[in-house]
């Protein structure tokens, strides 16, 4: 498996999916050789590396292969440029000519591919399972080196990231090449399947939909939010404050809610390029005192926020899957989610909206805040629903796909 940073290194949604899937596969008797990109971006010590390998997965089933690279799960060509400059700056002047990494992300991807090819020569395996998307050149190299079938697992595409405009041609080409070189393509939702068929020319027969599942979390201790909740209800948004996640729709809906009910506070947790604009906007429309911007929040803080929130809103413009509402529902917080998301394909006990329909978002928020029996019922059923969404399902589907490609083993 060619994946991304595993816990305790936090790589966002993709990393979490890699972790959960791998764990479930190991539990089901699949031997996983996990190639993990590893670089100075990740703060680590030798101990942590061992911890990953030894403590998270059954020893006999899991083998970790780190590969030095500067690329991360969410690297963009621009961010790579910055990371590279930082790296160079950290080297002493005489080492500068002996850079370990490529000067730009595409060359680095090729270097990475070469390293992975070596691993492919030396390891014994039945299938290659590569996750988005900088791993694709490496995956193709591994396929060529070993002759084994390749599965490419698409979590998000360049199209979704950029909203369709400003697609980076080289990134797009790389994604496309990976999808076409693969024997089968796994996608996380029908939403992504359509995207691949319409924008990447991938034939339908080659695509398999494997929806993500929910992370089974520990029960969080009750966070003391009594002060704030004395007077106000809380409506929560968690995610990158960027176009794709629809933060501006959240703000406009908040305004409508406040027109009818002043006793509500809105928490927008996360960072992103649109954050300054959002802060300006709430001030502009005079609701700044109703908003809280905590910035980046840790996993623990996410759990706490989810627990104290009364309503969770995910107004994503285009969300290939969307794990965040599952976390809210786990904490017994009802969720309002955009229909333009992969996760809306699998959830029943949520309220669904179109991301642009600010009135509907506000109306449903108000209904959840004011109709107690509704709030009660939907949060209970929702909590139950996510507890039943285990990684057993996707793991089993992946195993069926492996069997399909590699014959029974």
């Amino acid at each position: 498996m060619l994946g991304w940073e595993l816990p305790p290194f936090f790589a966002g949604g993709v990393g979490m999916v890699c972790y959960h899937l791998t764990k479930a596969l190991c539990d089901h008797g699949v031997d996983v050789t996990y190639v993990m990109p590893f670089g100075p971006r990740m703060i680590c010590s030798g101990y942590m590396k061992i911890m990953v390998a030894d403590h998270l997965f059954p020893k006999l089933r899991f083998k970790l292969k780190e590969v030095e690279t500067l690329i991360g799960a969410y690297t963009t060509p621009e961010s790579y440029g910055e990371d590279y400059q930082k790296y160079l700056a950290s080297l002493s002047s005489k080492d500068r000519s002996k850079s370990l990494y490529g000067p730009n992300v595409f060359q680095e991807a090729q270097l990475f591919a070469r390293k992975v090819r070596l691993i492919a020569f030396n390891e014994d395996f039945d299938v290659i399972h590569a996750h988005d998307h900088w791993t694709f050149p490496a995956a193709i190299a591994a396929k060529k080196a070993s002759g084994k079938p390749l599965i490419v697992h698409v979590h998000i595409t360049e199209f979704d990231k950029t909203g369709g405009t400003g697609v980076n041609q080289r990134v797009y080409d790389m994604e496309r090449e990976g999808m076409h070189a693969a024997d089968l393509v796994i996608v996380v939702s029908n939403f992504v399947k359509q995207r691949l068929m319409n924008n990447y020319g991938v034939p339908e027969e080659k695509i398999r939909v494997v929806h993500n599942a929910a992370e089974m979390m520990d029960e969080t201790a009750d966070h003391d939010a009594s002060k704030i909740k004395e007077t106000d209800k809380i409506v929560l948004f968690i995610g990158r404050i960027t176009l794709q996640k629809g933060p501006d729709y959240f703000v406009e809906a908040a305004r409508k809610v406040l027109e009818k009910d002043q006793n509500v506070k809105f928490i927008m947790a996360g960072t992103g390029d649109m954050l300054p604009r959002m802060i300006e906007r709430v001030a502009e429309i005079g609701i700044a005192n109703k908003f809280i911007f905590p910035g980046f929040v840790s996993r623990d803080e996410v759990a706490k926020l989810n627990k104290i929130a009364d309503v969770f809103v995910m107004p994503s413009v285009s969300e290939p899957f969307g794990l965040v509402p599952l976390e809210a529902m786990w904490q017994e917080t009802p969720a309002i989610i955009s229909r333009q998301s992969g996760v809306s394909e699998v959830l029943n006990h949520v309220l669904k909206v179109d991301f642009w329909d600010v009135n509907d978002i506000a109306a449903k928020t108000l209904a959840l805040l004011h109709y107690r029996s509704l709030h009660q019922q939907i949060k209970q059923h929702g909590a139950l629903e996510v507890r039943n969404m285990t990684w057993e399902g996707p793991a089993q589907k992946c195993m069926d796909i492996y069997k399909e490609l590699a014959g029974n083993r």
Partner: protein
């Protein structure tokens, strides 16, 4: 000798529009006229008109030997008047044959008996009047919404002068007994209780087109045989079903119309068999035993109880809040308001809030105009809140005219205190989850 008693239920609710919290206090246009009209016209075309035509043909053909019974809800009749008068005309043609009997039910197809017996009585009288006006018949037989039934109901209905009442022949109340006899309800010695033979009824209403059923295809010969097999083992076969079975639940291409066309002849092949209306059945056969049914039952879902409409806290709180304000609504004396409130008592609104099978997505989902039961609840409650605002407005007006307004009534309903405020703040009812005994 076996008598076959066909009874058909005709009903369409006044469905609600997408009514959001922002509409509360701003518009009182709750019902989706477009959609309701569209549905009436569609079902008229697929079911009511062709089936009425067929029945008329069969009645004429069999010269008095073939008869059927109907119960048509008041809200359906109103919609026929508005959107499909030709349907009404065809029912009138059937009435004129003298072989078609109309039953009594609540005008609004409601569960009012469970909450407000006075309201129940009023709705039944309204319906009775409507049947008299349209079909020149005075119903003598009663059926409650969705065949919800128990001893208490039988007793009450007896008090209103009816001779017979219908109910579901559910296993849990019959035990070893057969639905093919007439029974006497406990506490209502003068009433005759007719029980649905659910096996034979559902063979037509549900299983008819199911290719996975081991008796598929259901031919008239086979079905006729099953009916006649009861000779000597029962008096009466009660085939109670939704009228929409013909053409809507079972589509035309399943052959349902051909089946129905040949059925009377097949049944009448045996000289011992005949067809009866519900009143004829009640008159012809004696009661064989008393049936004690204390808990409410119905003809819905596997459980045959009230859980399709009142099984979860959404349904319960919505129903309770609705019926709580009945008296105040009537006191305003505003007929439009009362009519709107009554349209909310239609049981379908609560059916749409059922979470029971939601994850499995089955029959409830098919008839549900909402994406989720939660949306059904939200829309209903929003409308209810607007009704309350209208009541308050009318009370305020009256207050200045009539000092004797009793605030005692308003406090019962947990109104928010902001009766006088400059900016209309949100004053939604926050129903408490108090599950009262609905037995």
């Amino acid at each position: 000798m076996v008598s076959v008693c066909f009874y058909f239920q005709v009903h369409q609710p006044f469905r609600l529009k997408k009514y959001s919290v922002f509409d509360i206090g701003n518009n009182s246009d709750y019902f989706d006229e477009e959609k309701n009209k569209e549905i009436i016209k569609k079902v008229a075309k697929k079911c009511y008109l062709p089936t009425n035509k067929l029945l008329l043909k069969l009645i004429k053909r069999h010269e008095g030997k073939f008869k059927v019974s109907f119960s048509i809800s008041g809200v359906a009749l109103e919609q026929f008047e508005k959107y499909a008068p030709e349907v009404l005309h065809s029912f009138r043609e059937l009435a004129k044959t003298g072989q078609v009997e109309f039953l009594s039910e609540t005008y609004h197809h409601s569960l009012s008996f469970l909450f407000d017996k006075q309201e129940f009585k009023q709705q039944v009288l309204m319906h009775k009047q409507k049947i008299k006006d349209l079909f020149d018949q005075e119903p003598k037989v009663f059926r409650n919404t969705e065949l919800v039934y128990n001893n208490e109901l039988a007793n009450f209905v007896q008090g209103m002068g009816y001779n017979a009442i219908l109910a579901e022949g559910a296993d849990h109340i019959l035990g070893w007994k057969s639905p093919n006899f007439i029974y006497t309800p406990k506490t209502a010695e003068n009433m005759k209780l007719l029980l649905k033979n659910y096996k034979l009824s559902d063979d037509v209403a549900f299983r008819f087109s199911n290719k996975g059923w081991n008796e598929h295809p259901l031919t008239v010969e086979k079905y006729g045989r099953w009916i006649s097999e009861n000779n000597g083992k029962g008096h009466l076969i009660n085939l109670f079903m939704d009228y929409e079975t013909f053409g809507e639940h079972q589509w035309e291409d399943t052959g349902i119309f051909e089946f129905m066309e040949k059925l009377p002849e097949e049944i009448l092949k045996h000289p011992d068999n005949d067809f009866v209306t519900v009143s004829e059945a009640a008159e012809k056969y004696p009661s064989v035993a008393e049936l004690d049914i204390h808990n409410f039952m119905s003809w819905a879902d596997v459980e045959r109880d009230l859980s399709a409409w009142l099984g979860n806290s959404l349904q319960n709180s919505a129903a309770q809040e609705l019926y709580k304000i009945g008296t105040i609504v009537k006191k305003t004396g505003d007929p439009a308001l009362l009519s709107d409130w009554r349209k909310l008592t239609t049981s379908d609104h609560f059916y749409y809030m059922c979470i029971k099978w939601f994850s499995d997505g089955d029959v409830h989902k098919y008839f549900n105009p909402y994406d989720t039961p939660y949306e059904g609840f939200i829309t209903f409650m929003n409308v209810l809140n607007d009704i309350i605002i209208r009541v308050r407005e009318l009370q305020k007006q009256k207050q200045s005219e009539d000092k004797k307004l009793t605030y005692a009534q308003t406090t019962q309903v947990e109104f928010s205190h902001n009766m006088i405020s400059e900016t209309p703040s949100l004053t939604l009812i926050d129903p408490e989850i108090s599950l009262s005994k609905i037995e």
